[in-house]
């Protein structure tokens, strides 16, 4: 078995269909014309499985295979796209004909089919589905159920989900260059419901990455997820009404970095900025954050959920500086938007599958560590909110308004964390929220590997992270006036 992703991709996607270099050349010939600026063919095969435990038993599992080809032709700002779930020469030729209809007229030149560039391997080209025998997957789920119930008698329900996917992609560029990648991805999630005196609350925790299932068995990770889920649920049993209004908010490290993803990340995607629809459009070089803030999007972190060897257009991923010491430095780009804006692609061209068009998307977005001790940050707040854990968020990139919802939060009174409060949505304005960051912790953490980002109906796995942050003035959507 080869360890070269390109070799595996050819074996998985071209050989079973009997496709050879000359066939690819024919497809590209069909696709390219004088007025086509760019074109590509994206072949993909994904196997996915999941196992679910509830009521103390592993009730069901599922398995799916998704395979197909997406064919794209770009002319100026126009894109023609067709896909098929059959990878055969006739279907590829037909898709190419449909995609090319965007640009009429003209003949084309000859391409050399080649596969040269091999980017760094941030993860092994493994099949995580095969990494544990089924018996051990089941045993893991059961052990987590038992652990949750053992931890506290108030635990009423435990749900555990284990999922893995093995994705093989092959990107064929207009120059005939082949780029292959084999992308493992696993995820484990534990959620519990606790009950006391008729009051019920939930807690959940999970993690994963581009690795195999044994990741969860190492360093007691899986057991930690179970403990954390129970701890969160029990904290919420004590939670009182959250305050309403604008106040100082301290955000914990790690997953609360979803703030960055929503408040500035989406607004810095190349497509919105090329079109001028983002509140950040045309603001490169301007101050958009306090000098304490440096934010990057980094697709090159080994094993991370948001990492990729190459993006879905074959561009190697990078660590792109978005904000440096408070100054806006750059946008995240795919090929189309980079070309139209006259900059280089940054390895952020991603797509949910062969049936979707690529666009600029985040990978792992985080803020670098700062100078402050997290305890000092909490201690500096007379009255405010400490938000430790979050659910998801959303942004309107045009007005810049964004929300993210706390799932575990506490009051800060006289520099001390006091009572837990119920979850509440926080709302702010992307272009100025980071200007109100007055302290940045020295405790950078990345999330545990659970994020999924949605844009235009397409979902992709992403990562976020940040150190503890003090934000002077964020609106907290509680009920207590």
């Amino acid at each position: 078995m080869s360890h070269d992703p390109l070799v595996i991709a050819r074996q998985t996607l071209l050989e079973p269909a009997g496709l050879i270099g000359g066939d690819i050349d024919r497809v590209m010939g069909q696709l390219l014309s004088a007025s086509v600026d760019a074109a590509d063919v994206y072949l993909q095969s994904t196997r996915f499985e999941s196992w679910m435990l509830e009521d103390g038993i592993v009730k069901e599992g599922s398995h799916s295979i998704e395979q197909g080809a997406g064919v794209r032709a770009v002319s100026g700002e126009k894109t023609g796209f067709a896909y098929s779930d059959e990878i055969t020469l006739p279907t590829l030729l037909e898709a190419a004909k449909n995609a090319r209809a965007i640009a009429r007229e003209g003949a084309q030149g000859k391409r050399e089919v080649s596969g040269l560039y091999r980017p760094p391997q941030l993860y092994l080209p493994i099949d995580p589905l095969q990494s544990l025998p089924e018996e051990e997957k089941i045993a893991l789920l059961k052990r987590l159920d038992e652990e949750c119930r053992r931890l506290d008698s108030r635990v009423e329900q435990v749900m555990v989900n284990l999922a893995g996917s093995h994705e093989v992609v092959l990107v064929i560029g207009q120059d005939g260059a082949l780029h292959g990648d084999v992308r493992p991805l696993v995820r484990l999630n534990v959620s519990v419901i606790v009950e006391e005196n008729g009051r019920r609350e939930q807690g959940s925790c999970g993690g994963g990455g581009r690795t195999d299932y044994r990741f969860f068995l190492e360093e007691d990770r899986a057991i930690e997820y179970a403990r954390e889920a129970v701890r969160q649920a029990l904290v919420n049993l004590e939670a009182v009404e959250a305050p309403a209004g604008t106040m100082t908010v301290v955000l914990g490290p790690g997953w609360p970095g979803v703030l960055l993803h929503e408040a500035i990340g989406h607004g810095l995607e190349g497509d919105f900025n090329r079109k001028g629809t983002s509140a950040f459009a045309g603001r490169i070089g301007e101050r958009v954050a306090s000098p304490l803030c440096t934010v990057v999007d980094d697709g090159t972190l080994p094993g991370r959920r948001g990492s990729l060897n190459i993006d879905d257009e074959g561009t190697p991923t990078e660590c792109t500086v978005l904000i440096e010491n408070g100054i806006l430095k750059g946008y995240m780009q795919d090929k189309l938007n980079a070309r139209l804006m006259g900059v280089s692609p940054t390895g952020n061209g991603r797509r949910e599958s062969y049936a979707h068009l690529p666009m600029p998307r985040m990978t792992n977005t985080y803020m670098l560590a700062g100078p402050h001790d997290p305890q000092e940050i909490i201690g500096s707040v007379k009255k405010g909110l400490f938000a430790k854990n979050f659910g998801g968020g959303q942004v309107d990139i045009t007005s810049g308004k964004f929300v993210f919802s706390a799932s575990e939060a506490y009051l800060i009174e006289d520099g001390k964390i006091t009572r837990p409060v119920k979850g509440a949505t926080l709302i702010g304005n992307g272009p100025d929220v980071l200007t109100r960051v007055s302290m940045v912790g020295n405790d950078l953490q990345l999330d545990t590997g659970v994020g999924t980002c949605g844009k235009d109906g397409q979902s992709v796995p992403v990562g976020v992270g940040q150190p503890t942050l003090r934000v002077d003035g964020l609106t907290v959507g509680g009920t207590r006036v």
């Binding site: 023609g80 309403a244 045009t398 007005s399 119920k422 959507g477």
Partner: protein, 450 residues
């Protein structure tokens, strides 16, 4: 108008899919399944987007899928594939059977009771294919976007207009002898534009969707509505923190009913993951509220003769005189709760709340002073406790008149109280979705702002 040949082609495809499902069920039996269910779908479509008066994307869609669930005794396994070849079908059954080997015995697992399966298949008029070529689609989208861009000088930019048309076939079968399929279609047009006043920009959109293209709103109207909504938002500001009455505009009021359905769905009830646990037969809304499921409305987007398990759907009350009359159950969740399925595997089919007497203007007058919410952001709803806190934008209302647009605020409360404090439902019913409701006036929520 449809040419008969179009339907002849679909009839033939339908027979092919039926025999694939039958083969799949036979294969499951051969591989040792005691019972099985299989579904297959084919879909094709066209999406075009125009932006700034030019075509931006043309997408040709063509997809298919096969899914199978097997039961080996009381053990369950599922698998799916996008490859409909005989080999892939056999491998998919194999994958499902292998999973069933490892799954635990579950006494509640299994196919629906035979007497619950649909035996009559009313024509719900949900198939109106649109023979639309890319050129016509582009022209419609451009016309829509032009109408939006020309609506007002403050409309300065655009996210474009998109036209989508999809048609498909779906067949479901199980080893109890159920085998049925039908064709359906769905067409939509949406437009989103950007307005600017001073340094600040706002975007808003409008859309139309229908089973039959002739029932869609005119392209220019969609564009004008998108532009009008955008211009109205310009100059938005925050509010100070307060408690006040809130109106949910019709197109977002459906989300409130969505939270109701989430809370009475069988899966959430047996997992105790609902703020409406043990509320069957209890008052959850004021007495004037009536909410029905109407699965057999002609041409409606949620209409279906049977649910995802082949169980017949039926028109029935979910809330009557404010009292919760029915949960929303699948075969499995019903068995877990010691009840009968309500034909809701896969969700509800057209949820309809009785409209009241007042239109939106009337509701604003009745509210007098308060907040009209036209957009919600985020997912801040806790299904277990009913605690609700979401980002919002809309308009501040005094003396029954809109005063100014607002943004960067949150609205919060608890769904149980919000439901009981529902004051009125408007007659401005939004027919575009699976939920049909007018605007909804709530007595009081907490608004957080600056």
């Amino acid at each position: 108008m449809q040419e008969p040949t179009t339907f002849a082609r679909e009839a033939k495809q339908l027979e092919q899919l039926k025999s694939l499902v039958a083969d799949c069920l036979a294969e499951a039996r051969r591989q040792g399944a005691t019972s099985a269910e299989a579904g297959v779908s084919l879909e094709h479509g066209l999406s075009v987007t125009a932006r700034m008066g030019e075509v931006e994307t043309i997408e040709h869609h063509r997809s298919r899928g096969l899914g199978v669930t097997v039961y080996v005794g009381q053990r369950k396994g599922s698998a799916s594939t996008t490859d409909l070849s005989a080999t892939a079908m056999r491998e998919t059954v194999e994958a499902a059977c292998r999973i069933a080997q490892y799954a635990a015995e579950d006494e509640y697992a299994g196919l629906p009771d035979r007497d619950m399966l649909a035996t009559e298949f009313p024509d719900l008029d949900v198939y109106h294919p649109w023979d639309l070529d890319a050129e016509t689609a582009i022209n419609l989208a451009i016309g829509c976007e032009n109408a939006a861009r020309q609506f007002h000088p403050e409309i300065v930019n655009s996210e474009g207009a998109s036209l989508n048309t999809f048609q498909g076939l779906r067949v479901l079968g199980n080893s109890l002898g159920f085998l049925h399929g039908y064709a359906s279609s769905r067409h939509s047009l949406s437009c989103s534009v950007i307005g600017q006043r001073g340094d600040s920009m706002q975007r808003d959109d409008w859309w139309t969707v229908a089973r039959d293209a002739r029932d869609m709103e005119a392209a220019e109207l969609v564009g004008r509505k998108a532009a009008e909504r955008t211009v109205k938002r310009l100059g938005a500001r925050s509010l100070s923190t307060r408690q006040c009455p809130v109106i949910f505009a019709a197109d977002i009021a459906s989300s409130l009913l969505g939270h109701l359905i989430g809370a009475i769905r069988g899966g959430n009830l047996y997992r105790k993951s609902s703020f409406l646990l043990d509320h069957l037969g209890k008052q959850i809304f004021p007495a004037f509220i009536r909410i029905r499921e109407e699965p057999h409305l002609k041409k409606a987007l949620g209409s279906a003769p049977y649910d995802a398990e082949g169980v017949r759907t039926r028109p029935h009350h979910i809330v009557k005189d404010g009292i919760l009359e029915s949960y929303v159950l699948s075969t499995y969740s019903a068995r877990k709760l010691g009840m009968k399925t309500t034909g809701n595997a896969g969700g509800v089919h057209n949820l309809v709340i009785d409209p009241g007497e007042l239109d939106l203007e009337g509701l604003l007058k009745r509210m007098n002073t308060g907040l009209l919410v036209t957009e919600l952001m985020g997912q801040g709803v806790n299904p277990v406790t009913g605690d609700y806190s979401r980002g919002a934008s809309g308009f501040w209302v005094e003396n029954g008149e809109i005063q100014f647009p607002v943004e960067e605020i949150t609205i919060a409360g608890n769904l149980k109280d919000m439901f009981m404090n529902l004051q009125a439902v408007g007659n401005d019913v939004d027919l575009r979705g699976n939920t049909r409701t007018g605007s909804i006036l709530l007595e009081k929520m907490t608004v957080a702002g600056n």
